[in-house]
Symmetry: C2
Subunit: 258 residues, 2 copies
């Protein structure tokens, strides 16, 4: 099933999504940006698409309208966009509730959320990206599923009530994992040690964790109940009370859950 | 420069090290284990090596003796082993100080520490493993450097005074990163959500962190200063006070260091 799709937004998600959708056989009819120059730049990435900087889509041939914009911009665009009959309006955010599209002129609404971190200049292959979709309308949900499946084998229907849990879990998995690496970098740098020596350990630890499950993969002084080492490390970190407390608290939690 | 090497121990490190050393052109002369059956089993992995269960190495042709045993076993083995003249005794631990080999009969001592997490059944290519070496004797240090370089391009001389910092940094980078993944798994599981959907995000986040540096790679509600979301997440986690406190403390630290 091939769709005609209009994209609103020219940020990281839109930039990754537009060529991928065309490659999958869909047609990009329009690309909207507040600044027409931004829209034109992105239309160059595809075979044929009109650049637009106004929100009147009443003559559009598209069936699906994707709001690939920042969380803060979603509600204003949804309220102002003028859509043709029988159109589906979706956003690509993991945190904005579906109800935020409720006052739009769309016949159907949904969420089409690629769960990945997109950065300029880093290629992302959508085959490896899970799509989390939602709609209150069953036919819309089936269409979004087909659209997602055309990009990735990994498609999950996630209800709004589960989005908060998912987001909290993603913060631990992504932002907090990154901060642990940050603290590690700083400890090494402070001692004049080359952080490069820890990179292979990090890569192997994370692979092992994802393969075996983090419970089985855990090693180190906390899970061994090696209180002597834990105390040494805590003392070592006394130059930064907050980091020492992070060390103590995570170690305690590793001890408690095992 | 090729060496004659005796290995003491038959655990994960020894099992990975023995075939790698032989592949690099060195000769494994003896493999020691308290239980001769364990030693014999590991000798089968190499072309020629004698299995031993006694610590009298006075007739050994080896020049380098590698204690690839648990931290707790190092000091006893070092004290009891009988070594030939001019021999070098090293251990493979990242945490046991060099001085622990001080009462041995070795002419020279050192540390030969592959900084990686080894597990049974998981292949590790030493080309990707940094070796951290140390010795108070310059000639020994050069030999250990050559031995390490024959296995991996990544060799670092690390002094005992830096080992504590290195170990603390490794706990953050490896054990704590793993625990963040564990907490994420539990939040997903508790909500009945499939943890699979977060795996690509974790892989990409860690790659990005190692490539750009964790400071630049950080995203999420804390670094955006999005206190509304932080508060929502903290409330969501109120079923587990300790995990909520971990969330609060790491978020605070992300805010403070940026």
């Amino acid at each position: 099933m091939k769709f005609k799709i209009a994209i609103l937004g020219t940020g990281n998600v839109a930039n990754h999504l537009v060529p991928a959708l065309e490659n999958a056989g869909h047609t990009i009819t329009e690309i909207y940006a507040r600044d027409i120059n931004d829209a034109e730049k992105l239309t160059e990435k595809v075979y044929v698409a009109d650049a637009k900087s106004d929100l009147d889509f009443s003559d559009s041939k598209a069936e699906i309208f994707i709001l690939a914009v920042s969380d803060a911009a979603i509600s204003d665009l949804a309220d102002e966009i003028i859509l043709p009959e029988e159109s589906i309006l979706v956003h690509t955010s993991g945190t904005v509730p579906l109800s935020m599209l409720g006052y739009s002129s769309a016949s159907y609404t949904g969420i089409f959320y690629p769960l990945q971190t997109f950065s300029k200049g880093r290629e992302v292959d959508f085959v490896d990206v899970p799509f989390l979709i939602e709609s209150e309308d069953q036919e819309t949900l089936q269409k979004l599923k087909k659209l997602a499946k055309s990009l990735s084998p990994s498609v999950f229907v996630v209800k709004s009530k589960d989005r908060l849990a998912l987001h909290v879990a993603a913060v631990f998995a992504s932002n907090f994992t990154n901060h642990m690496i940050r603290l590690s970098e700083e400890i090494m740098g402070r001692q004049g040690l080359d952080f490069e020596m820890l990179k292979p350990l990090i890569i192997e630890s994370v692979s092992k964790s994802l393969e075996l499950g983090a419970k089985r993969a855990q090693t180190g002084p906390a899970i061994r109940g090696d209180y002597g080492t834990l105390d040494h490390h805590f003392q070592f970190l006394n130059y930064n009370e907050q980091v020492a407390e992070i060390y103590r608290l995570i170690s305690q939690d590793i001890i408690d859950v095992n």
